[in-house]
């Protein structure tokens, strides 16, 4: 795994091999989400699931075994009617339930935006706090799998833009579990973005991972790698690309600090700003389309609040603004990878 190589393979739909021996005892990303949902469903009878094929043929396997344990009343296969299903989640949430909705690909939320942004997100406010809408929508997302333009996006910037929606972006199995448990217990609508390339990955489990109250709080960024020369903010796969780049650069004597916000709403701006005050440089990397993105946002807020700390122009990497292409060589050209990140860091630290 070098800064020039890919960190993730393009084998999303292929049968997975056995885990490498070193990782055998580590939880998988997919399994961690499953475990979080299972534990919360055991703990709280109001938690239930809706989605296409989540009982009958779990897409990406994330809901595997849940229908067997909890039955199809609590793990509901839905028809292809996303407006009705998101609306059902909103209404059920108001009625005291805690629905979790799966989209097979997060992109498909496009057909049900209104129920999310105008209903789920606004009803608490509009009713002066009378109704609560605790729901979680799970959105498999991201490119690098050759899945094509309508199955590869990372649209969280939209949902950070509009009010009333929390946004979680787990990058490791531990965060996937801890953030999912926090999401389910949260009294607000939460979008849970799951990068498809992470599903099969395995990660060391931190102490407490098996604790039934293993919660990762929203709004607390993680410093994934401490450094002194530049602050790199990245999420999901881009985080791992950034860590790969940092590893490669360490050999060149460059010391990047890599920060994973973990949730965009709420966003832990303090941790990011504190880091930039230390390093004086900021690079924001994400697969998201660049314009009006989370990358723009982090740059804007750091520049507004820590302008004096910046020693050089901040930079951002992302999809420059085209649909994620189908052909692998084109997809690689559009999405930022470790080599792009390393190159940007090299330029920035030498300026």
């Amino acid at each position: 795994m070098t800064a020039e190589g890919r960190v993730f393979d393009r084998r999303l739909f292929r049968p997975g091999g056995p885990a490498p021996p070193a990782e055998r005892d580590w939880p998988s990303f997919r399994g961690a989400i499953n475990e979080a949902m299972r534990e919360e469903m055991r703990r709280d009878p109001s938690v239930f699931q809706m989605g296409e094929d989540i009982a009958g043929a779990p897409p990406f396997g994330v809901t595997s075994g849940l229908a067997a344990e909890f039955g199809t009343e609590r793990v509901r296969d839905t028809p292809c009617s996303e407006v009705a299903v998101v609306g059902a989640a909103v209404g059920a949430a108001m009625g005291g339930m805690r629905p979790i909705v799966e989209f097979q690909f997060g992109d498909f939320l496009s057909v049900a935006i209104d129920q999310l942004t105008h209903q789920a997100a606004m009803l608490h406010y509009l009713t002066g706090g009378q109704v609560k809408v605790p729901l979680v929508i799970r959105l498999p997302c991201g490119g690098g799998q050759g899945a094509g333009s309508q199955h590869s996006q990372t649209l969280y910037s939209w949902f950070a833009h509009v009010p009333g929606i929390k946004v979680a972006l787990p990058a490791t199995a531990a965060d996937a579990k801890g953030l999912m448990k926090s999401a389910i217990r949260d009294d607000n609508p939460v979008l849970f973005f799951e990068h498809k390339a992470l599903y099969r990955t395995r990660w060391p489990a931190p102490p407490g991972f098996k604790d039934p109250d293993y919660l990762v709080p929203f709004g607390q960024a993680a410093v994934r790698r401490a450094g002194t020369d530049i602050t790199v903010v990245a999420t999901l796969c881009a985080l791992h690309h950034a860590l790969a780049a940092a590893e490669a650069l360490a050999a060149e004597g460059v010391s990047p600090e890599v920060i994973d916000p973990r949730t965009l709403v709420p966003l832990d701006s303090e941790t990011i700003i504190a880091s930039v005050r230390k390093t004086g440089r900021l690079l924001v990397v994400d697969e998201a389309y660049l314009t009006c993105s989370i990358q723009s946002e982090v740059i804007a807020l750091v520049t507004e609040r820590a302008f004096g700390a910046l020693r050089t122009a901040p930079r951002r990497l992302g999809n420059p603004g085209v649909p994620v292409p189908f052909p692998p060589p084109l997809e690689d050209a559009v999405l930022p990878g470790p080599a792009d990140i390393a190159a940007a860091i090299r330029e920035m630290v030498s300026s």
């Binding site: 299903v85 108001m94 002066g128």
Partner: protein, 316 residues
């Protein structure tokens, strides 16, 4: 049916009519602003009859023409009016027109046409999963019926046998578009068959017909028999919103419509049946007017929310 209950229906209809008239007046007097009032004038029998079929713990989800069910479910006119004046003493603390009282099972929606229908389906699902025998009722218009949200919800509710009443309040218009232009089938209720649901067309200007049909649908829903689509045919007497001059309707059409005023008609039928003397009606009217005047006064005297409240209630 108990004559008192029959008179109550008229009282409800009258209260809706007069409360809304006062609301429109407040708009024209420039006491309030924003989007002009959306009145249920001519359609009062639908909400009055439908809500009379419901009990405590049942839920209704309203449209942009939502004041009728608020009144019919017994919300306090003072606090309704306070919300319409954007005052702190409203149910929503003056923060929106989506007048809601969860304790009485009224959720105010309506900003987005048809969006309340899927949400009502979800409330029905919650009742079913919690094992209550409570039902959820979605009001929606003839215009809303052409939104995908209604189709998807009708089918999902049929599939899951949800305790949902789909109450289509067909007032003949989607703003300026006549329903006959937008719907080529015989009725909107005819769509129910395509979902394997019962669908009925009823006289929405007769509160007793509405009460009967909705009671049947509620009984079926409580018994686990799933949803029903009830199309209540009624007539919008005013414009789409209070300021709408409705140039798109002829005088003849409007005259014919006004001749069917459900308040006058129902009053006449009660009085013909010997259930309501002229004096009793005058008394009812007086008490309703008093209640409305008090509501307006209450709203006027109430303060606006403080600016900082704009930033509250975002998160639960």
């Amino acid at each position: 049916m108990d004559p008192e209950r029959k008179r109550d229906l008229l009282r409800t209809m009258l209260l809706i009519r007069r409360l809304e008239t006062a609301w429109a007046e407040a708009y024209f007097q420039e006491e309030i602003g924003g989007i002009p009032p959306s009145l249920s004038t001519g359609q009062e029998a639908v909400a009055a009859g439908a809500c009379a079929a419901l009990g405590p713990g049942d839920y209704v989800f309203t449209t942009h023409r939502g004041q009728a069910p608020q009144v019919a479910r017994g919300l306090d006119p003072k606090r309704i009016m306070a919300d319409l004046y954007c005052r702190r003493t409203g149910y929503n603390k003056g923060k929106s027109y989506h007048v809601t009282d969860v304790t009485r099972g009224v959720v105010g929606m309506g900003g987005i046409v048809a969006a309340q229908v899927p949400v009502a389906g979800g409330m029905a699902l919650a009742q079913k999963m919690k094992g209550t025998d409570r039902v959820s009722l979605a009001f929606f218009g003839d215009g809303a019926a052409n939104e995908g949200a209604v189709h998807e919800t009708a089918n999902l509710a049929a599939m899951w046998a949800l305790p949902l009443i789909l109450l289509c309040e067909n007032n003949g218009y989607c703003i300026s578009q006549p329903v006959a232009v937008a719907v080529k089938a015989e009725s909107i209720a005819a769509r129910a068959a395509g979902y394997g649901l019962p669908g009925v067309v009823i006289d929405g200007n007769d509160p007793l017909a509405v009460l009967e049909a909705v009671s049947g649908a509620v009984a079926q829903a409580r018994a686990g028999g799933g949803p029903t689509l009830v199309e209540a045919r009624t007539i919008r007497l005013g414009g789409h919103l209070a300021h709408d001059p409705q140039h798109y309707r002829s005088q003849a059409e409007l005259d014919a419509a006004r001749a069917q005023d459900p308040v006058a008609r129902y009053r006449a039928s009660l009085s013909a049946g010997g259930l309501l003397s002229d004096d009793a009606y005058a008394d009812m009217e007086a008490r309703v007017d008093e209640e409305v005047a008090a509501a307006v006064e209450y709203a006027r005297q109430s303060p606006f929310p403080e600016p900082h409240e704009a930033f509250e209630d975002l998160w639960a």
